[in-house]
Symmetry: C2
C-alpha cells in the first residue's frame, strides 16, 4: 500500500545526483529529468583553482567552489591560506541547527602566512556593471531584484548599481567579529533555511558543491550559538587544498549549468511550476534559494 519510492518527490540539490534519463518521450517534466537531458553545451567547467578540497580527518571530502568575482580579496586570502596549509589540523567547532557549520583555527590565533590581507575591504556587494544578469522571473522576498550571473544566485539593485551573492543552503561565508570584515581564516556554511538577513552584512565567498551533508548531519553544539562545549567534540580537518595544488589525476572536476543559457531558463521555469505525476498544483513561482544552480561532477571523471 505504501508506495515507498514515490512518497514526496525530491528536491534537486546543488550538487545534482546522477539521474536516470527520462523514461518517457517529450520534453523533461521535472528538474531532475531536465538536468539529465541537458546538452554538454549547457555546462561550464569550474577552474581547478576555484575548487577548495577539505578533507575531514574522519574521512570524506567537502568541496567548495570559490567566487573570486564577488569577493576577490577574501577569496585571494583563502587561496593563500590553503596553499600555506593553514587549515591542516583545523576543525569544525560550531554547528548550530538550521543555521551554520563553522570551521577554522578558532581561538588559536595561528599566525597568517605572508600575502594574507589582515583587514580586507567589506566585500559585501560588488558593482552590477559587467555582469550578464538573468533575472529571476518570479517574486523573491528580498531586495529589489533576484537573479543569476556567472553561475551564481544573487540579489541586485539596478538603482544603486550593486549586486551581491545570497545566503542559500550550502553558501559559504567568512566569519567576522563586530567591527571587522573577517580575513577568511574562519569560514561557515549554511545548513538550514536561507538566512537572507545576513546578505550584505558579511562576505560570501562560495558554496559547497559536494559533501554539504557531511556538515549538515554533524552533532549540534550545545553552547550558545551552537559552539561545541569541549574541544574534544570538535570535528578535525585533515587538510584543505585547492584542486589546482593536487596532482592532475587527483583533481576533482566539476561543472555548473551556464546561468545565461536557454537550458537554465527552462530549469528555473520547471522549478517554479512542478506539475508531474506527484505535483497537482504548481507553485507558479520560486524564491532564488529554492532554484539552486545545478552543479555536478564532470562526466568522464578525473583529469589526466
Amino acid at each position: 500500500m505504501w508506495l515507498k519510492r514515490v512518497m514526496i518527490i525530491p528536491l534537486l540539490l546543488a550538487a545534482a545526483q546522477a539521474a536516470a534519463p527520462p523514461a518517457h518521450s517529450g520534453p523533461p517534466r521535472t528538474p531532475t529529468e531536465l538536468i539529465a537531458a541537458a546538452p554538454a553545451s549547457a555546462w561550464r567547467e569550474i577552474p581547478a583553482d576555484d575548487l577548495m578540497v577539505i578533507e575531514l580527518k574522519g574521512g570524506g571530502l567537502v568541496i567548495v567552489q570559490l567566487a573570486p568575482a564577488f569577493a576577490p580579496v577574501h577569496v585571494a586570502n583563502i587561496k593563500a591560506l590553503a596553499r600555506a596549509s593553514y587549515w591542516d589540523g583545523a576543525a569544525i567547532y560550531r554547528v548550530q541547527d538550521n543555521y551554520v557549520a563553522q570551521w577554522g583555527n578558532n581561538e588559536s590565533e595561528k599566525p597568517f602566512p605572508a600575502g594574507v590581507v589582515a583587514n580586507p575591504p567589506a566585500e559585501y556587494h560588488r558593482s552590477l556593471a559587467g555582469l550578464q544578469v538573468r533575472e529571476l522571473p518570479y517574486r523573491d522576498g528580498y531586495e529589489p531584484k533576484a537573479g543569476y550571473a556567472l553561475g551564481w544566485p544573487m540579489a541586485y539593485d539596478p538603482q544603486a548599481g550593486t549586486a551581491n551573492l545570497v545566503h542559500c543552503y550550502a553558501t559559504v561565508g567568512v566569519g567576522r567579529g563586530l567591527t571587522d570584515t573577517g580575513s577568511g581564516g574562519e569560514l561557515y556554511a549554511i545548513i538550514g533555511n536561507a538566512p537572507r538577513q545576513l546578505d550584505r552584512n558579511i562576505a560570501i565567498v562560495g558554496r559547497v558543491v559536494e559533501g554539504i551533508e557531511r556538515l549538515s548531519s554533524l552533532p549540534r553544539g550545545t553552547e550558545a550559538l551552537g559552539f561545541y562545549k569541549e574541544r574534544s567534540m570538535d570535528v578535525p580537518i585533515a587538510s584543505v587544498r585547492l584542486a589546482s595544488q593536487l596532482p592532475p589525476a587527483q583533481q576533482p572536476r566539476f561543472e555548473y549549468m551556464d546561468t545565461a543559457g536557454a537550458t537554465f531558463g527552462d530549469y528555473v521555469r520547471l522549478r517554479a511550476n512542478r506539475k508531474d505525476d506527484f505535483y497537482i498544483r504548481p507553485a507558479g513561482g520560486v524564491e532564488i534559494c529554492n532554484a539552486p544552480v545545478p552543479v555536478r561532477r564532470k562526466p568522464g571523471g578525473e583529469r589526466g
Copy 2:
C-alpha cells in the same frame, strides 16, 4: 583576535532557547531580546491533546504540535494512531539532505486501528473564513499573500478564499503516494530550506517544536530520495504518545506567541530589520519561513 562568541548572530529557532534578558535599557533590539522580554499575555498554551511526543529508542524526544484547524481528518487519524500505540516499534527510515526526515511503519502494512479514515479528503488548504489573519507586511515569494493565523505561518488567497499552512523548516506533513492523500501513518519533517513547492500538494499537520535537531543531524540515506539502504540503518522509535495520554506530571507544556498580538507584530518587524551590534544593513523584508512563530517550553515547568 577571533571574537568567537560574536561571529554570526544566531537565528532564533522555532523552539526558542532560553535567552538572557536584555543587558541594555530601551526597547529590544533583536528577536531574542524581544522574546525574552515578552509579557505572559503574549503567549498561548498549546493544548496537551495537540502535542505529540515521539521518544527515540536511542534516547531523546521529538515533540510535534498538531494543527487540527488546518487538517482535521488527518490530525484525527494521527491522534488515533498515537492512542493505539501504532508507532511503537516504528522507525525513521528516510533522511534526505536539505529536504526531509520521514518516519512510520514504512512498508510493513501494519493494519490501522479502528477509527482511522483510510482515505481522508485532500486537506491541502482550508477556507480563509473564520481565520483572524495577520498579514506579513513584506514580500514573500509564493502565492498572493502570506501571514499568520492561530499561531501558524500560512499562505492565503483572498480571491479564492483559501488558506494553507506552508512548508518551512520543521514543518510536519503526511507522506502520500501518487494518487492518494496519505492517511497519516507515514510522516515527514522538513530539515532544509523551505520547499514551498510542496504547499497545497500534500497535507501539513503540524510542526516540530522541540528536538528537530535530532532529525536534522541524522545520517543521510544513500538510496534514491534519501532512503536508508538497509533496515538495520533505520533509527528506531520507542513510542509515540499524545501529551494528554501521559500522567499530568509528565506532560510537557509549550506555548506559542499569539500571532494576533502586538508583541508578535514587533517580532516580525525586528526579524525583517536586523540592526544591532552585528547587522549593518537591515534586509527591510523577511520571507514567511524566515520569521517562524516563537514556541517555547512554558516557564514554570511541568503540569501537576
